[in-house]
């Protein structure tokens, strides 16, 4: 779940409530900026250069060759296997997220090309219950990997998730094993998997499929980690944590990722990176 909010070093702002106004305020520099200019600029603040949150659809549009994307997500939605209700019923939460985002769950997957290289790309959307991984996300990731194997294409995953979806209990936890098992088949087929970690890549997603990339790229401003400050404080004693704890720089410094890439460079760097691997792909 979304346990990594409210950290002052985070650069990416999540707008959960869409509105129709023409202007928006950048939470980093406080400047009022013209919304359309922000959108056209990859959701990067034109004044200070900090990032606004990207939806899955916006992310795909920012990366793939124009007109090349064809969605292949399975037409499925989550059951409520535990009949789960906390302050709200899980089914209500899902319906709410669906109507707010227009998505069936927190990930979409499709065929596309990037720099004319054919790929299968799967992208998480943090607006949908914190980008959490339940049965549907697990299934869609596996479907994407299987499609990549079938079409002999590289697989690219863009993560933005608080972790496993609590409301589906052990079903969610076991998606970690499911995606890891299916991911292994991609290697058997000799196909590369590039994992892109964005803000935030945490919990059960970071501890499974997102960390199993042949290559792992972090978008600048990403938050990467398994257990956040709150879990640490609750479980063991309060601990002095460095200012850059679980940032992109922290992950790079500790050897957990290959590169940190600016959002505006992400497409070009993915093309460059893929070009080293597609020769082995027919």
């Amino acid at each position: 779940m979304a346990i990594f909010k409210e950290r002052q070093y985070l650069r990416v702002h999540v707008d959960k409530e869409p509105d129709d106004s023409l202007w928006m305020k950048c939470k980093s520099c406080g400047e009022l900026v013209f919304k359309r200019r922000v959108r056209e600029n990859n959701n990067i603040c034109p004044k200070c250069g900090d990032y606004f949150f990207l939806t899955a659809a916006e992310r795909i549009a920012s990366l793939v060759d124009e007109g090349s994307y064809e969605e292949i997500s399975k037409p499925i939605a989550s059951d409520d296997p535990l009949g789960f209700a906390d302050s709200r019923a899980y089914t209500d939460r899902i319906e709410d997220a669906q109507s707010k985002t227009g998505m069936r769950d927190a990930l979409i997957v499709g065929r596309a090309s990037i720099g004319a290289i054919p790929i299968v790309i799967a992208v998480m959307d943090f607006r949908f219950v914190g980008g959490s991984m339940g049965s549907v996300m697990g299934e869609q990731i596996c479907h994407g990997i299987e499609t990549a194997i079938e079409l002999e294409r590289p697989f690219v995953l863009i993560s933005s998730s608080g972790g496993a979806r609590v409301q589906e209990g052990l079903f969610s936890l076991l998606q970690m094993a499911k995606t890891a098992a299916v991911r292994a088949r991609l290697s058997d087929a000799g196909l590369p998997f590039i994992s892109v970690m964005t803000y935030p890549t945490s919990g059960g997603v970071q501890a499974s499929i997102a960390s199993l990339g042949d290559l792992i790229i972090a978008e600048r401003g990403a938050m990467i980690g398994f257990a956040g400050r709150r879990v640490i404080d609750q479980t063991i004693a309060e601990q002095e944590l460095p200012q850059n704890f679980q940032t992109d720089a922290f992950a790079l410094e500790h050897g957990q990722i290959d590169r940190v890439v600016k959002r505006e460079d992400l497409r070009d760097e993915l093309v460059l990176l893929l070009s080293y691997f597609v020769e082995t792909v027919r």
Binding site: P75, L170, F171, M176, A177, A180, A210, A227, I232
Partner: protein, 315 residues
Amino acid sequence: MSDERTLDLLEAKIEELRQMNSQNGIDLSHEIRTLEKKLERLRRDLFENLSDWERVKTARHPKRPYALDYIGEIFTDFYELHGDRISGDDQALITGLARLEGRRIAVVAQQKGRSTAENKERLFGMPRPRGYRKARRVMCLADRFGIPIVTLIDTPGAYPGLESEEENIGGAIAESLRTMAELRVPTIAVVIGEGGSGGALAIGVADCVMMLENSIYTVISPEGAAAILWKDKDRVKEAAAALHLTAPHLLKLGLIDGVIPEPLGGAHKDFERTAAALKRELERHLSELTDQVTDERMAARYARYRSIGRFHAVE
């Protein structure tokens, strides 16, 4: 209603009567039988309808048998192997070679400490990245030499904290998941106490997954769920019930293969009996799995994990 203390008192009373019976030559056998029946009934009342939260407490009971207790009772020739060859040895996750009725096996298990001093070493059974890397090393070793693997799960979760994050705890868990999915040897995982989240699952991807009757297995602790979803850390009972984290629930949901019965009151009430039941199940499943052709066993494991999830078609 009775609680565990009343039962203990009654038990002591019966023992007292028994001694009087044998020492003084007075025939109290009728009284003893009556009290024993009463004790049995009270015990049933208390434990047969354990709430999910009470099972959580049983799974975490300080007297509950830990991995090394079972290893000592069930296996012979346990030979512990240490170290991940990179950063150190983890006492919260132990590995080794052993024999089960003469048959070679590799053991991977989470181990809690009994005393404060021991828990300083074992971190209450919360493994660090080095623990999962050791587990992976030993599982790969077993795989190379065709040795079946038994894992015993008992952890509140992976150890959180700066050092764990620096050493990439998430990455270590992920690699372990993938490795276990690809193992060629038979694998059995048993939750013996707490199955806490990714830290438990990391050694829980297997051909056969079982749980002791009063163990729990969950995506998040009831405390964590209460804090995050109910915004009230005291609502752990509701959270425990909502998570469906008990062995009977998870069997019904089709997520585990079997529940190993415990004596009334929990495994610690009759350790030998619990260990014997566990041993029987391990032997039975190990025989079945070993009899299968490797490719078929691996295909079945793959199919098992590939099919996990509940969703419905839309539009």
